[in-house]
């Protein structure tokens, strides 16, 4: 009898509104090896810095039959090294690449910054085999684990681990599903300035492989590409590539491609091994590539990472249901550039998690000694309460 009462409770009509989000504290401490910095710039460079932020997020969703809508609000309060950078940081933070400015930097000083951005704001209508979504949204076309040349609309910076949701793009997306396994997807994203993206994707599945073809226009280039996600025995096998042909002599022909394999061992270790070829990246940049990344250079589909050749090895392991660890390392033969990114998470209680992480950049010191040495070391501690 009791059983039936509990069923009754479970069968209640759900509200069409859903609110979720989190509150996070992130502290970071970074060290820079001054031997990597040209003498004339050494005085202007801090060799150690501390930064902290309070980071809150609200995600509101509405589901009403064929209509749905979503708003994502990201609020951050900075203190420490970030506000001390002054204008260059304000500009980076408050730069809303979308059609509609939804970024608000309303407390600006060299001690404290407070910033809000709406990185999701969309309305969706679905009927039968069609789906239409207009507004700021994430359009993910990538198939491989780390680098996604097929992501023409929503590139992201893999090292920016604290931005779990990744940025959105102002776009119209139309999806059509002819049958259970295939789909067509059209995305139109007129951005500020000259950067327009219009692309069409076709995806299907055969012999337990997903495959897709993409064609379109990206920033005054014609682009065509494709990707697959399948397996060889127990091994996952994925890849994707895009080729860019410029409309005029301002652009350049570029090929960007990535592939990876992944596997889960019986002891629970997840291993993935991948490679990215990025023809846009200059060769011989070495450690300067790191600089362009830390300067907040916006990565683009045509230039998804800082090196011409990058190999990625990722390992993750759940030590127990509360503690899990991961280690990602990237290597480029360009100046023996190496990034090592270990992290560990611990669940303090059902909705409270602690994360400890590090990001270590190593390379040949072409500036001074020519020795392989560490360039930047960053340490992170984060507490997250989810609701």
């Amino acid at each position: 009898m009791l059983v039936f009462i509990s069923f009754g409770a479970a069968a209640q009509e759900a509200s069409p509104w859903e609110l979720s989000g989190y509150l996070k504290y992130l502290g970071s401490y970074s060290l820079v090896n001054e031997q990597f910095i040209p003498l004339e710039q050494q005085a202007a460079t801090a060799t150690s810095s501390f930064d902290q932020q309070l980071h809150n997020r609200f995600d509101l969703r509405y589901y009403g039959g064929p209509w749905s809508a979503g708003i994502g609000m990201r609020n951050r309060l900075f203190q420490g090294a970030s506000p001390e950078q002054g204008d260059s940081f304000y500009k980076l933070l408050d730069d809303d690449a979308g059609l509609v400015g939804l970024s608000f930097l309303y407390w600006k000083s060299d001690r404290v910054l407070m910033h809000t951005i709406f990185d999701r704001a969309w309305l969706q209508y679905e009927k039968d085999k069609w789906s239409f979504r207009l507004g700021r949204q994430r359009i993910n076309w990538g198939m491989t684990s780390v680098f996604n040349p097929n992501d023409l609309l929503n590139q992201y910076n893999f090292l920016d681990f604290d931005y779990e949701e990744r940025p959105g793009v102002d776009a119209l997306r139309v999806q059509f599903f002819p049958n259970f396994s295939s789909q067509f997807e059209l995305a139109l994203a007129p951005l500020n300035g000259s950067m327009h993206t219009a692309a069409l994707l076709y995806r299907n599945n055969a012999y337990a492989y997903d495959f897709q073809l993409i064609t379109g226009v990206y920033d005054e280039h014609f682009t065509a590409g494709g990707g697959w996600a399948g397996s060889i025995g127990g091994l996952g096998f994925k890849g994707e590539a895009n080729y860019y042909l410029p409309f005029n002599d301002k652009g350049e022909e570029v090929l960007v491609g990535s592939t990876d394999i992944d596997y889960v061992f019986t002891n629970g270790i997840y291993l993935s091994l991948g490679y990215l070829y990025n023809q846009s990246a200059a060769e011989g940049l070495g450690v300067m590539g790191f600089n362009s990344l830390s300067d907040g250079q916006v990565l683009s589909p045509k230039n998804p990472f800082i090196f011409r050749h990058t190999t990625v090895l990722s390992l993750s392991y759940p030590f127990n249901p509360l503690i899990s660890g991961s280690l990602t390392s990237m290597y480029s033969p360009d100046g023996n550039s190496t990034i090592v990114f270990p992290s560990i998470t611990y669940s303090l209680s059902t909705n409270l998690d602690v994360l400890l992480a590090g990001q270590f950049f190593l390379a040949d010191n072409q500036q001074a000694t020519d020795q392989y040495d560490w360039f930047v070391q960053s340490f992170f501690a984060r507490l997250k309460w989810s609701f």
């Binding site: 059983v3 479970a10 979720s20 198939m143 337990a208 992944d262 889960v264 061992f265 909705n351």
Partner: protein, 242 residues
């Protein structure tokens, strides 16, 4: 003399072990099902509960939606035949998982993914032998030994079932590894009516090596009378299931 008695008593059972296993399997699966359940991982100093909804159609298709905790809410796992997909709502991204993922622990519990979604077949992948009759908590059960077939791709080498004679429920199941060592014991702790059938409502998975560890699976709803369209088991629908 003893063998005669055994022969006599086994004919008394007058039951085909394969038919019993098949009937118990049919009862537990149903062609289509909808379930709401919670899974609690119990350890000496802490416990964590995950709540989910699941839909299945035959053994080829299943869909699991995590509804709690907040951190994982909205995460979906879709299995269609041999392919497994994961939907991560925060980044709106679908990820195809490597086939080797299936042998792994399900979200840190004592169940594997295979226990929950693949369902390697107790009927097809094992040879069956009736080895006795027992009484468990006042319920009469057949004790059936299952030995993995040589070519079967299964996790366990041997499984001992205790199937309730009245309701064809798995009352107790012992899982042995390929070396013949007992690894896990699964027991039905509470039996009641779910979706018009008498079924286990609370099931406990107990690893033998860690007596203080267990995973408790509780069904809040389970219905085999549902009709779930095939199109619900697609990567398209995975993104809108609630």
């Amino acid at each position: 003399m003893l063998s005669l008695i055994l022969l006599f008593s086994s004919s008394l059972f007058a039951q085909d072990p394969l038919a019993i296993v098949q009937k118990a399997e049919d009862k537990l699966k149903g062609e289509q099902s909808y379930a709401e359940m919670s899974m609690t991982i119990v350890r000496p100093n802490w416990n964590r509960t995950i709540k989910m909804k699941s839909w299945s159609r035959g053994t080829d298709y299943s869909l699991i939606l995590i509804t709690q905790p907040a951190r994982d809410k909205g995460t979906v796992f879709l299995k269609k035949r041999k392919e497994v997909y994961n939907w991560i709502p925060s980044i709106e991204r679908q990820i195809k998982l490597p086939p080797s993922m299936m042998n792994q622990s399900w979200m840190g519990s004592d169940f594997t993914n295979d226990d929950l979604v693949t369902e390697s077949s107790l009927v097809k992948d094992y040879d069956h032998k009736l080895i006795g009759e027992v009484s468990l908590n006042g319920r009469k059960a057949w004790k059936i030994e299952l030995i993995a077939k040589e070519d079967a791709a299964v996790v366990w080498g041997k499984v001992i079932l205790h199937v309730d004679q009245a309701e064809y429920i798995h009352l107790r199941t012992e899982f042995y590894d390929e070396e013949g060592d007992l690894v896990n014991i699964m027991e039905a702790k509470k039996i009641g009516e779910l979706g018009g059938k008498i079924l286990p409502i609370v099931v406990v998975m107990q690893p033998v090596a860690d007596p203080e560890h267990k995973t408790v699976l509780e069904y809040h709803a389970l219905d085999f009378r549902v009709t779930i369209p095939r199109e619900h088991f697609t990567t398209q629908y995975m993104k809108r299931v609630r």
